[in-house]
Symmetry: C2
């Protein structure tokens, strides 16, 4: 998505440790008009796929998913991050390792909100090592539902998570894929 | 907002401890088409107020704020919840007491995203004791910006937080105000 690539170049800042700061439009501040453009693009990608539901994980993923849900007229379910190991029997759950914070957490979704008939698109803001997506895919599997595809706004291609999922046959269509970045330049995948 | 009151009656469940469960449309699952209706109502309430920005707090508040932002063509800033007491100098922050979890946390917003010229509407999903709103109002004050008003989707009027803020002269316009609730009935403020 060219307009997203241009926005990343214009407003993003590359920090130490492969961190891309896009707080002005995607993380702390949300450029809602631009989110709706991303929602339009997500709707275009999955038109004809009979998607029934969008799944994301709190917090920043919610904004992208709501934008897509508004265009696609679909409900959004968001997984909650749970630090306690106290998982009840009425939820689907998966363990996720965060490289950023170097710790594990559980993501949980109440069983009420995903069922076996659902055809799901998983949405998130960032895709790096792919651990959050793997957890969400595991939850969809627990429900017996189908993953149609995964779309993240920004994929850090050089961290390999997206390509590892693609190698497993999962459809991953990120809106912008960064293959290389430094404080001076950002290189996008063609 | 009559359609919201009807939806609460139809889909909500009142649990022990004054908990209203609305996971089917506002918390874990988001009925995005209905969120957009709420966004329309929020836009109507503040039409003519020259609002420049919406402010909310993660996580569920983001969905309501994005819906309003989409209709009003305004950016949304969301405060992050911070469990550490390690607050840097480049953020505004406020301490919030959660009665639900009986503990304190900090909410923080990077200084970059609110400035003194901003006219802000604060948005959240629930208003109970009003502690989260008070924290957000404090942050707007730290930035020297103006609070135009506060709108929550569902106000638990019987918990008094909204009325306490109104008594301080703050404009609080919730989309639905519950004055009394039990497992058998929910009574809305007229």
């Amino acid at each position: 998505m060219l307009s997203l690539e241009q926005k990343i170049v214009r407003e993003g800042t590359v920090l130490e440790g492969d961190v891309l700061k896009v707080g002005s439009f995607l993380n702390q501040q949300l450029d809602v008009d631009f989110l709706m453009e991303m929602g339009n693009e997500i709707a275009r990608i999955y038109s004809g796929d009979n998607v029934t539901k969008l799944l994301t994980v709190e917090s920043s993923g919610i904004a992208v998913a709501v934008a897509a849900g508004a265009i696609m007229h679909l409900p959004v379910v968001f997984a909650k991050k749970n630090k306690s190991s106290n998982i009840s029997s009425d939820v689907y759950s998966a363990n996720v390792h965060s490289y950023t914070h170097n710790k594990d957490y559980d993501i949980v979704v109440a069983k009420d909100y995903i069922n076996a008939d659902d055809k799901i698109v998983i949405i998130d803001d960032f895709l790096a090592n792919g651990k959050a997506l793997e957890g969400l895919i595991e939850i969809v599997g627990q429900a017996g539902a189908t993953v149609i595809g995964c779309t993240c706004a920004i994929e850090k291609g050089f961290q390999g998570g997206g390509d590892r999922l693609r190698a497993q046959g999962i459809r991953v269509e990120s809106l912008a894929v960064i293959d290389k970045m430094s404080p001076d330049s950002i290189e996008f995948r063609k």
